[in-house]
Every structure is written in structure tokens, then in C-alpha cells.
Symmetry: C2
Subunit: 550 residues, 2 copies
């Protein structure tokens, strides 16, 4: 046992218990409060972020052929940070050289290193919040949570599931086979976990840490070496992560090159070279279906885990809390301007309207209720920016502009007070087979889709999830028999369903240790965070056996 492991063993045990109960649990508080993180944590984090700006990011001993980096915050700040950059060949060679020591480490040593990395990441959550805010364009409170504690939760979850997997096979056993009246055959057996090789994590622009930590920590703790390839527009959060990982590795006596950073430039990405390298044995990818297809086609024998895109839906069949429903949906559509893989896009509403606690509502009244709730939510400019954040990618703004012609505009999008921004656009469409709502329209774009009745809406949403993928589905309904049918329909479509959310919990939210994120059962991704299928193949078990000495 190592010091790192002993220090964090109780946290690991609690994580394993939480995974079993799937009740609420986290060791990483989500509130950006000085009372929790230390009175100076807020100012220290801000100062640490400021000190990084306009400077060469230091990664001692990291392979470096040149310096790259051109991050500009969607909030307007030019980060002017440069990172050490090396080609795929140099990175793979360095990773290969670092492998032997890491492979030879015990599961407890590796878990200790991973838990200590997560612990230190947690202490840096304010810095990570700023880094996430100014690369993803999220508002600070969300950037703190999603870039910090919530991502750390997902990393810890992966370590815990991997620990469970690695502990499934005993290190040794005695196998004694009876031979009738003769002496039994007695063998001593030993098993060890061996890693696959180099693991590549391909990060995304919008959730660089939250989406990457599960695969990164799953591969690392199971003995693989790691190359982290950030999106060129969101390098800093992963560079900070790699720096902390390298520090902990070196302190524990391992080569820091067990974890490497692969920085490139938009338009000259080295991702393709890394994917095609035969030494790369595991790939975790978050991004578009189109590039996902490319990864799969070029990954050779590597295991590929993906989170891709889909079309999430809300079906409104009825409610006993119309205001609560509209407010809840308004927040889900507004949060980070719809740039979450869990954000709803299509809202299916019966043509004949619905029953509510305020009496019957027509389709137009439902639409107006949601649009009005968004207007109310975003009435205060500071609050609006705090909810919507900014638009990470200029292409998303262009998509909003071109979407206006796709249907009747129920609520128009407009810039907010700060940064490159756009409030939610809501369009009304029929459920035509070639309708624009049948494709992912990433960003603050949603569709009110008129359907014959509630069951037709459920079926349309489930069908689309099954064919195009979906990560979330929501239903508002008061008819328990129909709710049961919807549960079946969305299970068949492989999508997690949230029913009648009206308070401070949203369909967008996926809680570590309880909610599996993505099911792997529809085209929105093949991996599920964090089930054993996401972990078990990252290492292999090898045996030696011999007759037991008398």
C-alpha cells in the first residue's frame, strides 16, 4: 500500500458504496464557497489564472518541439498562453518509454496516484473554474461546477469502478481437483492485470474536463499510459490537469510522461496521426458523429469509447404544475445556451393541447408559457449571462441565424449583455419526416413540434432517439398508464427519461455515482459513464500456474 492510497482509501470506499446504492454522494462540494474551499481560495484561483495569461505554460520535462496556443475566451479575453507541443511520433515514443514503470505498479499504487490527482484538482477548483469559463464560454458558477467538482466526481467514479474490476480476480488461488482415490491435482495460480498500451483522450470544446476525466482516469488507473488531446480552443483546463498529474506521478516515483499533453492548432490537428498509431490501444472520444465515424474507421484494433450527438426531447402530455413545468423547461433550454449534450431540442406537444392545474392549455398557450418563462428567467442582464454564458464556437452563432427560417419563430434569439452570446431561439414545426428538428441543431435552438396526441409525441421522440441518438428525454404527464408506456418506449430507444421535473433539478443534469451518462444503446454514443463495460476492457488478466509444492 502506498501513502497516496492510504490517504484516500476511505474516499474510495465511500465511492464504491455510493455506486452500489446509487444514492446522492460526492466528496467534492459543488458550491464555490470560501467556507468550503478556504477563505483565500477564490482570490488565489483568480490570481493563479491571471498569472497564466500571456505566458508560456510550464510543463517541466514534457516533450516540446515548439510552442502553440491560440485560445480566445468567448467572453472576449485573449488568453495568449502557449503550450509545449510535439508531434504524434515524439509523444508516442515518450509514452512508450514511460510505460514499464507504470505497468509494474500495483493497482493500489496506481489508484493512490489517481486519487491524489483528483484531490489536488479539487483544491484547484477555482482556478479550474476560470480556465473552464474562458475556454468553454460557460458562466463562472457553471464552469466551477462542471469543470471542477462535477468532473472530479466523474473521474473518481471511473477510478472506483476500475478498482472494483481490478479486484474481481484474486492475486492468487490454490486449485485442487479431486482424482477419486488418487491424490488430487493441486495447482497454484497467480493473476495479474496487464494494460492495453497507450490511451488517447480526445477532448471537446464545451466540457473539456467533465467529458474527458472518465476515460482518462479509467485508463490511467488500469495501467495504461495517457495522451490527452484537448480541443484547440479549450486546452487550458486539460493542461492544468496534465500538470497536476505529472507532479503527482513524479512525486510517487513514476515518469511524468505517463501523462502527456498533445497540443495542436485548429486546421493542423494531430488527432488523425494519434488515432492511426498502432501503439494507441484505447481511444476516448467526445464530439460529432462524423468525426466519430472517422475515429472508428481509422482506429485499427484500438478500443473506441464515444460520446457523440443526438436529438434530445421533451414530451408534454399534461401537468399538474404548469408554471413549474414552464420554468423548469426554460432553464433547461437556457443553461449554457443549449450547448450541453443533455440539453433538450424538440418539445412535442399535442395539437389539441393539454390538461393542466390551470385548466386546459392549447398548444399555443404551452409554447407561450415556455417562451414567457425564458423571458422572465433572462429579464435581468446579469442573471441572463450567468445562466446562458456565451457561445463557445462561432459556427453555433451562424447556426442560430440560419435556423430562423426553419419554422415559425415563437421566441427569437438575441445577444446578451456579455460576450459572444445568443439567447434561446424557439421555432414551431410540424413533425414532417424531413423536418429540421430531426437533426441535431447544436446550440440555443429548440422546436415546438405539434403531434396528434401525447402517445404520438412519445413515439416520435423515442423513434428519433433510436435512429438519430439521444442522451436525455423528458416527459410531463399525469396519466400513470401513459407514463408506464413512455418508460417502455424510451427504454426501447436506449435513452434515460426524466419525468415531471419542476423544481431545482433539470433534465440536463447527470449526477455521478447515480446517473449513468449516455446508455450506449443508441447512436449518441457507445459508452456509458460509468458502467463496467466502460472499464473492463482497458486491462487484461494474465495467469501463471504451477503445481503446488508439497
Amino acid at each position: 500500500m502506498t501513502d497516496n492510497f492510504r490517504r484516500h482509501e476511505a474516499m474510495l470506499a465511500d465511492a464504491l458504496a455510493a455506486l452500489q446504492s446509487r444514492a446522492f454522494w460526492t466528496p467534492f462540494p459543488e458550491t464555490p464557497s470560501g467556507k468550503i474551499y478556504g477563505e483565500s481560495a477564490r482570490s488565489d484561483g483568480e490570481a493563479a489564472f491571471q498569472a497564466l495569461l500571456g505566458a508560456a505554460f510550464d510543463l517541466p520535462g514534457h516533450p516540446e518541439e515548439r510552442r502553440l496556443g491560440a485560445e480566445v475566451s468567448p467572453w472576449g479575453l485573449d488568453l495568449r498562453i502557449t503550450y509545449p507541443s510535439a508531434g504524434a511520433g515524439a509523444l508516442i515514443a515518450a509514452s512508450g518509454r514511460a510505460a514499464a514503470g507504470w505497468t509494474a505498479a500495483t493497482p493500489a499504487e496506481r489508484a493512490g496516484v489517481c486519487l491524489e490527482i483528483l484531490h489536488r484538482l479539487n483544491r484547484q477548483s477555482f482556478l479550474m473554474g476560470h480556465a473552464t469559463m474562458h475556454t468553454t464560454g460557460q458562466a463562472f458558477p457553471m464552469a466551477f461546477q462542471a469543470g471542477g467538482p462535477h468532473a472530479q466526481d466523474r473521474g473518481l467514479e471511473a477510478v472506483a469502478v476500475a478498482w472494483q474490476e481490478m479486484m474481481r480476480t484474486p492475486a492468487t488461488a490454490v486449485w485442487e481437483k479431486p482424482q477419486g482415490k488418487a491424490a488430487p491435482i493441486v495447482l497454484e495460480k497467480q493473476w495479474r492485470a496487464v494494460p492495453r498500451g497507450i490511451s488517447l483522450a480526445i477532448g471537446c470544446n464545451t466540457f473539456p474536463t467533465w467529458n474527458s476525466y472518465p476515460g482518462m482516469f479509467a485508463s490511467l488507473v488500469t495501467g495504461n499510459t495517457l495522451i490527452v488531446k484537448p480541443h484547440p480552443a479549450a486546452i487550458l483546463p486539460l493542461a492544468l490537469t496534465v500538470r497536476i498529474a505529472r507532479e503527482v506521478l513524479a512525486e510517487a516515483g513514476f515518469s511524468p510522461d505517463v501523462v502527456l499533453l498533445a497540443v495542436d492548432e485548429a486546421g493542423a490537428e494531430i488527432t488523425g496521426d494519434l488515432i492511426a498509431a498502432p501503439e494507441v490501444a484505447i481511444i476516448d472520444y467526445t464530439g460529432s458523429n462524423a468525426f466519430g465515424d472517422h475515429v472508428r474507421a481509422n482506429a485499427g484494433g484500438a478500443l473506441v469509447f464515444t460520446e457523440e450527438a443526438g436529438v434530445n426531447s421533451i414530451t408534454i402530455a399534461g401537468t399538474d404544475d404548469f408554471r413549474g413545468m414552464c420554468s423548469n423547461i426554460a432553464f433547461s433550454l437556457s443553461l449554457y445556451s443549449g450547448q450541453m449534450c443533455t440539453a433538450p431540442q424538440n418539445i412535442y406537444v399535442p395539437k389539441g393541447g393539454i390538461q393542466t392545474d390551470e385548466g386546459p392549455k392549447t398548444l399555443d398557450e404551452v409554447a407561450a408559457g415556455i417562451a414567457g418563462a425564458i423571458d422572465a428567467l433572462l429579464a435581468d442582464p446579469a442573471r441572463a449571462s450567468g445562466v446562458c454564458g456565451t457561445i463557445a464556437n462561432p459556427a453555433t452563432l451562424a447556426r442560430v441565424a440560419s435556423a430562423r427560417g426553419m419554422g415559425g419563430v415563437l421566441r427569437d434569439s438575441a445577444p446578451l449583455a456579455e460576450g459572444r452570446s445568443a439567447s434561446p431561439l424557439i421555432l414551431q414545426v410540424e413533425d414532417a419526416p424531413d423536418g429540421p428538428h430531426r437533426h441535431e441543431c447544436f446550440g440555443p435552438i429548440s422546436f415546438i413540434v405539434a403531434v396528434e396526441d401525447a402517445d404520438a409525441g412519445i413515439q416520435a421522440a423515442a423513434d428519433l432517439a433510436r435512429s438519430k441518438g439521444a442522451i436525455t428525454a423528458a416527459l410531463y404527464d399525469t396519466d400513470e398508464a401513459r407514463i408506464a408506456r413512455a418508460i417502455d418506449a424510451f427504454a426501447w430507444a436506449g435513452v434515460n427519461l426524466s419525468i415531471n421535473l419542476t423544481g431545482g433539478i433539470y433534465v440536463n443534469q447527470s449526477a455521478a455515482f447515480s446517473d449513468y451518462h449516455v446508455t450506449g444503446a443508441n447512436p449518441a454514443g457507445n459508452a456509458s459513464l460509468t458502467d463496467s463495460a466502460f472499464i473492463a476492457g482497458r486491462f487484461r488478466v494474465v495467469m501463471s500456474r504451477r503445481p503446488k509444492a508439497a
Copy 2:
């Protein structure tokens, strides 16, 4: 809970305990004894087999477009059995229609059905022994064991691991998130396992049940429907299996078409159509690397689990039981004429000879010791046939003939008294980079490979395993430091190592509940029997969540 599940629940619990301890355990006795299986079991099995010959094999209600079947026993018997045959389209349609009821069953209902199938298969082990003998060409004792109890063990192992996986996520949980001084957010969550779709099992000629049961039962118990595609020369063992499965399914109230048989003819196989069908979501394949590549390239989005080929080795560095070593190796080379995926092919021996309990032995003396032990083992014609069995595929006989020119003949191959047969051929070669021993030579062909010293032999065997694949490796050595180096080398190559086997246990043998069969860490296959990676992806977990009623 179902009756089937209750009836076999204790067996499942014992299997789970065995998987944890990895000590010896089986509920299915391997001895073909009337005392165990019932006084009339032997004659009943023989009579049942005879009754099948020359007749139409009955699978009530099975899709049938025509009758096919041309099995001829390598022992000489023409089976003249015809089976119902249908095209890929009809099979996939029937499988799809059967899916809803099976998907809706509880894990306990499905496990109960699978355990009852295994129980009935066990009761039919004598019949299965004859069916296996006259399709694979194994001698009866081996056919009984490998086709019966040992295959049933592997099926049960898959059910047990799958049960463990399905039970990992609770059916329900309450998730309560504190909100400071406000009331907590409380959600009720429900999870269910959903299957992938249709699972295709592609059987092989030599071990139709042993190699197919793990994937078949793993997919079935996790809710997928199953299409079983036997090798055209070894249909009967899987047809009997499918018949029993369909009987148990129907008795339990499910469509028998949950399990279907895909019979085709050599030269007009429908395997390609089945692989390419988008409805086929899981493929279990045993066979050549070349067809394995075809499966991977054409499987679309299906999960593919494979056992392919490799080059297994023995390295002889020294021994304190020269006679025991030679006898043990002789049996490993002779058993089923080397047609086991676990049979050794290359025997690395130092040029300068080795130290033994009988004093130093030259390379020639080591080779002569092994050849002599084979001659002694096979001296009695009846015993020789009982060990070697026959040659399943005529191409293997041709390979033996052409192999004679590949090196110096240390022991020539010859027909045995019964059936299409060939005793072991042993050739001597240098370890040249382009040597014939560096490829799989399937069948009773082995090579004594001269190497500089024992460490060079270990490295050569490990290198070849890593590059070409291997399922087993063996080492004879008395130097503990070198043994430790060998354990590291073969772990790096991803191959299970047996050390100093001299008694009644052989490198070829892989025991369910204890030995993982294939590591998945080298080209000999991507799947390991039976780890969680072999199971976990066969189903997905889907959630619904809603606020908890006050």
C-alpha cells in the same frame, strides 16, 4: 422469481462463489459414469444418437425453407441427418418477432431458463458425447467431456458472470440531494437492463459447444435473442442444444424462436449475410484470423468477440523430472491430434541442452525423450485412437503431409487404427525469422526449435505470442529467477503460462470458474472467457427518474 430460477438458484450461488475464489468447482461431473448419470444413461445416450441417424432432425416450429445437412464422421460414419434451414432474412425476422417477450422477462426469469437449459444439457451428456465425437472426430471420452460437462461449465460460468453484471445496478434507488436550509431534492430512480438485439454465435468444427456456449449463454441471459450458426461439418451438437433451449423456452412461456439454428452448406454459407445484417448486434466467432478479419470488417456496429488462432509454445530450460516432463508434453501433443486451440506447437530448447534429474541432456536427447514418450503413449492402437481421436478436416491431413519438408523429421506422423487419423509429426528447425514454426500449423505438427539459451527461448516464445497470438505457453525450468523473468515476459505477451506440469494436468486444459481462457491481449482473440468485458456490453442500462411523491 420463477420455478426454474428457484430450482437452480443454489447452483448459481455456488458458481458465483467459485468465480470469486477461482478454486476448483463444477456441478457437472466430467466422468462418463452410470453411477453419476444413471445406470441407463450410457445406453440411452447411444440409442438416442442412433435414432437421429439418417433422419430429419425435428425442431418444432422452427423456420424452414428447405432441409440441409451433410455431416460425415471423421470416424467413418455418414450421419445422413437433415436439419431445417432458412435464409438469413427469415431467421432475422423470426428472431425479431421473438424479442419482445424475452426482453420483457426479468433477469431471474431469463437466468432460470438458461440454468434449466444447462441442466437438461447435462442430463444429455452421453448423447452429446456421441454427437460431438461424430462431428469433431474426438474420441468418445474427450467428446463427452469437452462437448458435455466442460462446455456446460463454460455456459454456466457465462450465466454467473452475467448475473453478477445485471445485479450491479439496483432496480430502484432514492436520490436525495441536500439544498442547504431548503428542502432537499428527492428523486426516485428506476433502472432496467435492455438487450442489444440479435446475437449471432458462429461455431467451429472442433469444439462446437465448448467454444460457443459462453457467448450463447452470455447473450441469452442478458435478454438478446440468439441465432446459432454451426460449422457445416459440426451441426448436430448445436442442433441438440438449440432443441433443448427451444423446449425450455416454450415451457416457460416464451417464443422458442428466441433461439434459432442457422444451417447452411459448405460452399454456400449464410454467415456473411448474418454478419452484415444491421439487426445483428453481437457476434461471437471462433475460427481463423482471416475470417475473423472479415467478421470485423463487415460487422457494422455489432460487438464482436473472437477466439482466433495463434502459436502456442513450450520452453524447456531444465527439469527435475525429465520422464514426467516428456510424458506430459507427449500427451499435450497427442491429445485430439493437436487440434486444440490450446495445443503447443513450438518447443524451444537450448542448443547446449539442459540440466535434468537424469543429468545433462543434449537437445537431441530432449527431442528423443519427447518422441519416445509419444511412441510409448500411442503403442497400443486402441489407446492411441482414444487419445488422438481423428482429424476433423481433411485439409489438416494435407497440412501434415506438406509439413514434412519444413524441417528435420524427428518423429513422423502415421495413420492410426481408426478413422481419418494422423499421429504427431515433430520437426526440428532453427529459429529463423522466416521459419515455418512462426505461423500456426494447425493439427498434429510441432517443432523443436533450437535457441541459444533458455532466456532466448522464453523471449522468442513471448515475442511470437505477442506478434502472432498465443493462447497457452508452457515452461519447464528449475531456476526461480528465470521463472520470474518468464512470468513477466509471457504477461507482457498476454499469454497464460503453465510451469513444470508433469502429472495428470496439461497445458491444453483450461478449467472453467478458475482459468480465464484467452486473455484478449494478443492476436489469438479479443475475448476472455469469462471476464466482465465479455459480458458487460451485451446489455445496456436505462433509467427513468421522477420527483419522489411527498
